[in-house]
Symmetry: C2
Subunit: 407 residues, 2 copies
Amino acid sequence: MNKRIGLFGFGVVGQGYYQIAKKHKEQWTPDTIVVKNKFKRRAFDLKFSYNPQEVFDKNPDYILELISDTNEAYEYVTEALKRGITVISANKKLLSAHLPELIQLQRVFGGKLLYEAAAAAGIPVITTLETHFEEDEIISLEGILNGSSNYILSRIFNNGLNFSEALRLAQQKGFAESDPKFDINGSDVASKLNILGLHAFGKFIGEEQIPTFGIQHLGEEEIALAKRLGLKIKLIAKAERDYRGIAAHILPTLVEEHNPFYGVENEYNAVKIVSEHLQEQFYQGKGAGSLPTGAAVYGDLIKAKNGFGYSYSKVNFDKPLDEKLLNLGVRVLIKSKAAALIDSVLFSPELTHQIDGVIFAVGKIKPKNFNKLNESGEVSILALPDNYAVESIEAGLKTIQNAGEVV
Amino acid sequence: MNKRIGLFGFGVVGQGYYQIAKKHKEQWTPDTIVVKNKFKRRAFDLKFSYNPQEVFDKNPDYILELISDTNEAYEYVTEALKRGITVISANKKLLSAHLPELIQLQRVFGGKLLYEAAAAAGIPVITTLETHFEEDEIISLEGILNGSSNYILSRIFNNGLNFSEALRLAQQKGFAESDPKFDINGSDVASKLNILGLHAFGKFIGEEQIPTFGIQHLGEEEIALAKRLGLKIKLIAKAERDYRGIAAHILPTLVEEHNPFYGVENEYNAVKIVSEHLQEQFYQGKGAGSLPTGAAVYGDLIKAKNGFGYSYSKVNFDKPLDEKLLNLGVRVLIKSKAAALIDSVLFSPELTHQIDGVIFAVGKIKPKNFNKLNESGEVSILALPDNYAVESIEAGLKTIQNAGEVV
């Protein structure tokens, strides 16, 4: 029994899905593919449609939404769900912005929405949260969720490139957009953490609520320091629960060798989940790429065919989904020339070390201050490993000072 | 709507499941618990039954089979499946021995059988193979699948214990059985690889077909050599497909620092899957323990309630499930005093180095010879990392020779 499939978008992900679907005996290729640009040259010789309505006119069983425009995606996905159609989406921005409404539409109209490809593409983390962890209480979820940032950090740490050389290479390799802002400032990561947070904790955080600091302010001194200490820097997204509620933030983080994130290189993503019963789990896989992402979309289609849907079992629908985030202090190394700025945000100080007018300090920062520090453009922050000795940081700073590694 | 649940066995796994089930609002605790020994003191004050028939007399919706006796387990599970009842099992020996028949019983009578806890307990690898990888072609599956062996290796490499000290500690901690044979000789691993192989490749290998060499013959020299080379030794199970068929074996393996298995310590298990589309994925989690294993059983129950079952989509039911394994040469370092024994199995030799009558050689061995070497008791074998330079091995051997690290 052939199913009618409507596809919106034929970019990197859409083509990956299509390549996979056409190899299989069962016909899970789309009968309608809607694209926007009539004049773009395309890799496949297919009949394209330019009219979104054509998808709906054919009464599809499944709709795949694989476009980048969030507003258009919102239109197609809500329209489909209102018709009770099962939708597969890879659109993190759409989902992160509208999940509560999209969940509601599934409940009212009976359609399903699956979106494994939207967060940590190749890693089946949403499905796993919805099955294996369904009745387990999640204590924390951490991840490396942006392949471009991670690729840049790998080139810096493994090949000795500086930040701008590494960024240029990431762009050449197609891992970073030509405007790489969303890749390196953590905005893309916030969308993904927001989606995963809902499945892990049953709460909708809202990505604009997640204090986010990307890798764009990372300087040569912190990189030299990390190398001297045998550490790496990774952009880590973290959400955790304590008895008062949920805390979340995104920060460049110093990572020790025994941490499983230490070995996650290049365009790979990884997720670490700590729960009450299953305890610590760690997953690593490709976070980008046409085939891994297309395979996640195709996998969703097959799961939907087999009757699988997200149960949102951690969501308590009698209570509001959103919750104010806790603003718990994070222990960091902060670097700036602006002493007053550091003073205005740092508490529980443990160390201040000055090299040629550049101040390095260890202490705690409330995540709500990340935005202010981000906008100042004068500050670099690195989260420290748990219980990392401040004496090691101090010794490391003296070493780079003596070696003349401070610019 | 309460469901009737019959439980066989109340050991480590059964108690873990029970602890989890009684915390949840929905009643997923058993109404009948059948145990064998009337006189054993038990941690929970519950009414136990000693008559297996009592479970069936109550017409249960679900049966949990969490006992160790394979023959009894076979009786209960086949009886349940013939009645179309959904069964959750954690019994790797049962499953590894009888999976083809148990799959057939599901198909004929409509009951389901789930068994995530039977292989790499805490890691949802079977569910992931059955969902995320359902339509993807697996190229290879490798794993650290025995927590006791891995715990022993961690103590040797991280704490400087020798083999027998490490084994004693594992027994004290409850990670190894009082008769540790099945833990350290790889037999337990073969059962798990056999189960995973079926879900990964759709073929039933048969655990007695899997050439297996455990860690029991590991000597001080190989450990000293690995440490000198900055490598670790892990007991790795591997199954892979090439155009001619499937190859599989279990061997202590030298692991380089960049390999994700390098950081898997203590009682953790890990699985690496390489597939055509999703490419490389790596999962790590607890491989033993009452709560992680109990949570995997409980998770299966919840999945079954939500309609989930294994589709065995990679199995072609028109063809016989079993397939002769390929006997492809594996590149190893072999150590023995018996020159003739080495000569009789090693081909494509690259290096022979003798220290005080002990011969170290690098070359290839056909897995079918593992048994003979195992039984001789005079040989230690270590698989080498892919493309590892023989010159490094030679230099390492000279270093341990000069340092007097050869006993």
